[in-house]
Structures are given as C-alpha cells and as structure tokens.
Amino acid sequence: MTLTFTDEQEELRASVRRFLADKSPSEAVRRWMESEEGHDPAVWRQMAEQLGLQGLALPEEYGGAGYGPVELGIVLEEMGRALLPAPFLSSVALAGQALAVSGDDAAKQRWLPGIVDGTRTAALAVSEEGSSWTLEGVRTTATPKGEGWALEGTKTFVIDGGSADLLLVVARTDEGPALFAVEGADGVSRSPLTALDPTRRLAHVTLEAAPAVRVGPAGDQAGYLRDVLDLAIVALAAEQVGAAQACLDLSVEYAKIRVQFGRPIGSFQAIKHKCADMLLEVESAKSAVYNAASVAAERIAGAGEELPIAAALAGAYCSTTAVHAAKETVQIHGGIGYTWEHDAHLYLKRAKSSELLFGAPAAHRARLATLVGI
C-alpha cells in the first residue's frame, strides 16, 4: 500500500504544480470559465506535449507512460488545487481509465492514442435524470442493430459531454448494463447545462437510435462497470482533496495578514480553531484518497478487491471535507469571500458540485454500509 510518495512522485507533483501556477493562474481560470470552449486548448496541448499528463496513467502500448491511479491522483490533486478548467477528469480519468481497464483491445487501439496525445477527448455518460452515478439508475437502452447497436435514452450531468469527440455511454441490454462508444452526431443531441460550477462543463445528452459500438469485456459487464464508476469516484476525490488544501492555504494566509481590532484575525482562537479543524479534515481526506488510489492500482493489477469500499469511503469523506473547507474559506475571508473577485466562491462551487455529481456523501455511506456488512 502506498501511503507515502517516492522522490519521483514528489517531483511529478512539483512539476505539475509549477506548470499549473504558470499556465492556469486565477486570471486564466476566470477567462476560460467564461469562454465558449471552457478551457484553454493551448494549455491542453502543452499538458500533452511538454508533460505528457494525458498519457501518464494510460498504457504504454498506446503511447502512455503506464503509471496508474496513484500518479493520476497526484496530478488530479494539483488540478483541483488550481481549479484547472480542462477536460482532464472526463477524458483521462473517467473515459481513459474506462478504456484502459476494458480488456477490449480493439477499443483501446481505436481511441486511447488520441486521448493520450490530447488530440481527442472523451466523456463518460452514466447519470440519468433522478439518478447519479449508479448502474441501477440506468434506463437508456441498447439494442443490436446491424453490426452494432442503437442507443435510446437520456444522459445528464455528462462532464465535458458537450465537447467530447467520443461518448462512452452506459446502457441496458438484455444481459444487463454495458458500455457503448458513440461517435458523431447521428442520433445524438447535446445541450449544455447551466449549473453551479462555472469551471466545469456539463451536458445533457439525448440519444435517439444513436449508432454505437459495444466496448469492454464480452459477457456480463457489471463488475467491469462497477470498477469504472469506482475509479471515477477515486479520481474526483483526489481533486477534492487538492481543492480543500488550496482552501486551507488561502484561509491561513489571509488570517495572517487581515488585521481587525488591531491584530491579525488569525490570532483569534475562533479563526485558529476553524483552521485546525480544516487541517484535520484535509489530512484525514488525504489518508482516505491515498489509500483509495493505492487500492485502485492494485485493482488494475488484478487484485484490490477492496476498491468499492475504498472508493465509497474516499467519496464520502473527501467531498464533505472539500465543501466544509470551501465554506470556511468564504467565512474566514468575510466580505471579500462573498465577492465574485475572490476565488473562494470558485472553490465553493467546485466542491459543492463535485460533492453531488458522483453520489452524495450519504449515498456513498449507504453503499459502504452494505459493503462492510452493516
């Protein structure tokens, strides 16, 4: 189990942090969140060309570096910290990992190289109206048609689903849920959602006899799809931890310099105790997510039976931590924390949004209860 990092991993963290500080400072985040594209295509290319981040945790045979969820978690933590607006979570952590663990050579050959070099993006469509991130809630159907399949249904809260070149869609078949690849516009209509977090694009996708290719293992895909959903939960939890750490750092810095009643507000116990509690939660959330990433790596290697537990645990704890940290950041900053100008609201919106996209903390705990035999 990897609960501490090697020098090489620390170096990865440092270089991603430097890159993001340079390429994705607050002004850039704000510029791109209000743009049509939602992110900076030039930075996206540099991420692929200079740092190889898109391929870092994807297999070497398709151009990746062959690392796994632990390294991906480091990158996502830094991206969460910088609030990077980019289709990285969707294309790499969600869709890329879904393909990488699919055991489907044809699908990997066809789509992974483009994801790895950043020339193509993919999105993973799971949730439907009234359900988040569960297989049970999937009502979209897939029926065989000619050589392939036809999909019928509605997906929503698809992260970067508006811009992705490839949609990976979970749909029902007679043999249970399975994963399908949809390319092109035939039978697909996508519309952007106007949601809380301006730094992340969400789409509503309607599928009407949309032509699709089945991807993933032959036969029953329930176990495979469960892994795909859990890998996504772990990835998002890593982002949440990075954002929570950023909130703590912002709060502590501000508490040191903001003077009221003739002294820095950080010298008051009310503020100190808030910050100490944030540190406790951030450190505990790190323990949860480093464990989960480590179990995910074992899972990809064929073991890691505890992945569902580790993912549910990280999903529950890290989301709560990030939302709490963001709310306290607004509070500690007082009036300035309530302005559009300060970044506190961006963290709050990202944290709250992430808390609910893949299932609320109570839903994660309900699943955990069942998994551990409560």
């Binding site: 609960l3 950080g266 540190l279 450190e283 464990n291």
Partner: protein, 396 residues
C-alpha cells in the same frame, strides 16, 4: 540509539522472525483474565510486566543498558501491532509513556541507572503531578513550591488529576522554585517518593463515579536534590520530551482498538434489529469511514517517518481526530440503544454491562486531559499552520 530507523548490522534477525518470536511469547505466556478484585488485579498486572521484562520484551523504544529493547522504529511498530493483537495489559501508570523519555534525555547516569529499570519492569509505578486546581491549561502558573534546604527540597502544595496516583510509588512532579511570577522560567522537575512523609494521595471521584484520578497534597515533603531531573528552574522544557516517534507507533494501537469497538457496536446494532434504520446505517457507516481513516493516517505517518525521517502534519491532528471520534461513537451507541442505553454497569438489565454509557461519560475526559481540545487546536494552528499567537497570552 533509540528512535534510529534502521536495524544495527549486528541484528541478524529479520523483522518477520522478530514478529514471530514476539507473537509466540505473547501467546505462550498470556496472563489470562484480570482478577476482578482491584488489589489482586494490580498484583496480576505487575507479575505480567515482570515476566515480560525478564524475557527481554519490555520497553521497546528504550536503551538496552537501562533494560529496554532499543528497537529501530519499524520494529517498534511491529511490537505495538503484536502487543495489541495479543490483548495483554500495557504499562501500569503513566511513567513509561511520559517520564521515561525525559529521564533518558535529561537524567544523569546515576538517575537512569536507578530509575529506569524498575520502571520498565513495572516494579515501580509512576504517576504524573503536573495539573493543579488553579493551573490546568495554564500549567506555567502552577504554585506548588519547592524550597531548597541543604541536600533536600521541601515541597508544599496540591496537585490534581493524577492518573493512577492512588497506587503509584513515584510522582514525577513540576514544582515552583522561582518567584511566584516566574512562570515557565521558575519550574523544576522532581521525582517524589509517593510514600514519603507529608504526601497524601486522595482518590478523586469523577464523572463516572469511579476513581481513575487522584489529588495529591504535599505538606513539607522532603525530596533529595538528587531526585531533580535537569537543573533548578529549568524543568519546563523537559515536559514535552519524546525520544523519537514512539507515539506514532502507539497511535496504531488506538486504531486497532477502535476497529474492534466499531465492529462490536455494529454487531450490537444488528443483534437488536436496528440496522434497517437508514439513520443508524448512516451513522455506523460514518464510524466505519473514520475508523478506517484512523488506521490509514497511522500508517501514513509511520511510512513518512520511515521514508523521510519525520512525520507530516497528519501526526499533529491524529489525537484530535481520535478523541472526537471516541466521544461521537459512545454517544451514538447510547442514543441507538434508546432508554436501554441509560442503564449503568451495576444494573442487571444493562446492555453489555453499561459499557457504552460508561464510555459516553469517560470520554468526556478525552478532550480535556493532557491538553484540552481547544489548546490542541491552538497548538496546531500556531505550530503547524503558523498562525500568530494571541497577543493577550503570556509568551510561550
């Protein structure tokens, strides 16, 4: 030396061989159930500690020349894991955890020779004499005085909240040798014979109805100057001595203990048909989350110590994490049981001998003793996060 991170070259036994040898000893010599009678129980406890020492399995972090094992850090972790797994009683009193590192670091050779071995063997029970009725969180304001008379100090004053002092042999005590206003610059660290004339130890009945703590009265107690650790008026910096990272190894014990407790609470909830209630399920799942995190944090701190030589900030918050957890857990257990949860240990209808309501009461102390949760948060904020001190507070 203690706290070193690698095995000495002379140490040819592998970690796993060490683990097996320790496990075999703890299994073969397990002392069985503690006698219910208090006095018999203490004698039984003492006998176990002596057997442990005589077999060379006591004081994992202490130097060999004083009776310890001088284990490298990774083996201290193994030691704690096995010790906890075997469910055998730990040290009596608080000397080994608190006073012994101070003695190793600041004691003279004579003092170390005289005091450490009997403490590690459990022959002498040590109790702490720090807090006073008027000096709790503000410990540097303590007033118990020690006046020099020839080769002795004469000690007068009162201490309180002294864990295990009612059967202790030695009281490691902070006394005022400077002026009344000298605060931490006028404090001296003395070892006081608990059986000396003028020492009165009175068990203090606490919130649970039990007597876990005592109060101690000193009335012109003569203490040899030879029992002073460190210099006169220089006792304060000795208070928070730790030799290495033995606390990090010990934190895993708490995680293992509460792992069992959460499992037992879940079993109780099931037995009583309560796990169908989504609110009960949610709370139990939350404790499951937290008890697992407790373990991961413990492992992370240990991994950081092994790979970098020092723990990260997670080590500073783990006590706060655990104490809040244990309070929440016991209160929830009582709530879950409803009115049945109110029955105390002595009621024949009590649930599991009243352990949960007992824990609800006893864990009130978790966020008070050894530094209140509020003081801990101040310390974390100032020393880990670097927030400024309250200008109204006296200097540290």
């Amino acid at each position: 030396m203690t706290g070193s991170l690698t095995a000495t070259p002379a140490d040819v036994e592998t970690d796993e061989e060490f683990r097996a040898r320790l496990r075999a000893f703890l299994t073969d010599h397990h002392p069985g159930k503690r006698p219910r009678d208090v006095v018999e129980g203490r004698a039984w406890h003492k006998a176990w500690l002596a057997r442990l020492f005589d077999a060379g399995f006591a004081g994992p972090s202490f130097p060999r020349e004083y009776g310890g094992m001088d284990l490298p850090f990774t083996r201290q972790v193994i030691y704690q894991e096995e010790y906890n797994r075997a469910r055998v009683p730990g040290p009596q009193g608080t000397g080994l955890g608190i006073a012994a590192p101070t003695l190793v670091k600041y004691g003279t050779e004579e003092q170390k020779q005289q005091f450490l071995r009997p403490m590690i063997r459990g022959d002498k029970v040590w109790a702490q004499g720090y807090s006073e009725p008027e000096a709790g969180s503000d410990l540097p304001s303590l007033r118990t005085t020690a006046r020099r008379e020839g080769d002795s100090y004469v000690v007068d004053g009162q201490k309180v909240w002294n864990t295990h002092a009612d059967y202790a042999d030695i009281l490691f005590t902070l006394v005022r040798t400077g002026t009344p206003e000298s605060r931490q610059k006028g404090i001296t660290y003395l070892l006081i014979d608990a059986h000396a004339p003028g020492v009165t130890v009175r068990p203090l009945r606490d919130i649970t109805g039990g007597t876990h703590f005592s109060e101690i009265f000193f009335d012109a107690v003569r203490v040899p100057v030879a029992n002073r650790i460190g210099e006169e008026n220089e006792g304060w910096p000795l208070v928070r001595t730790s030799l290495g990272h033995e606390r990090a190894a010990g934190a895993m014990n708490q995680a293992a203990l509460y792992r069992r407790v959460v499992t037992e609470l879940t079993a109780l909830a099931k037995e009583r048909g309560l796990t169908a209630d989504p609110l009960v399920r949610d709370r139990l799942a939350d404790f499951e989350v937290r008890v697992r995190i407790m373990r991961y944090t413990g492992m992370r701190v240990i991994a950081d110590i092994v790979s970098r030589g020092e723990p990260g900030p997670a080590s500073s918050t783990s006590r706060l994490f655990i104490t809040t957890f244990e309070q929440d857990l016991h209160e929830f257990a009582v709530d879950m049981l409803g009115a049945d949860g109110l029955l105390l240990r002595d009621d024949p209808r009590s649930v599991q001998r009243g352990r949960w309501v007992g824990g609800f009461l006893s864990t009130r102390a978790s966020t008070i003793g050894a530094g209140t949760a509020e003081i801990q948060r101040n310390t974390i904020a100032e020393q880990v996060l670097g927030l400024p001190r309250d200008p109204a507070m006296p200097p540290r």
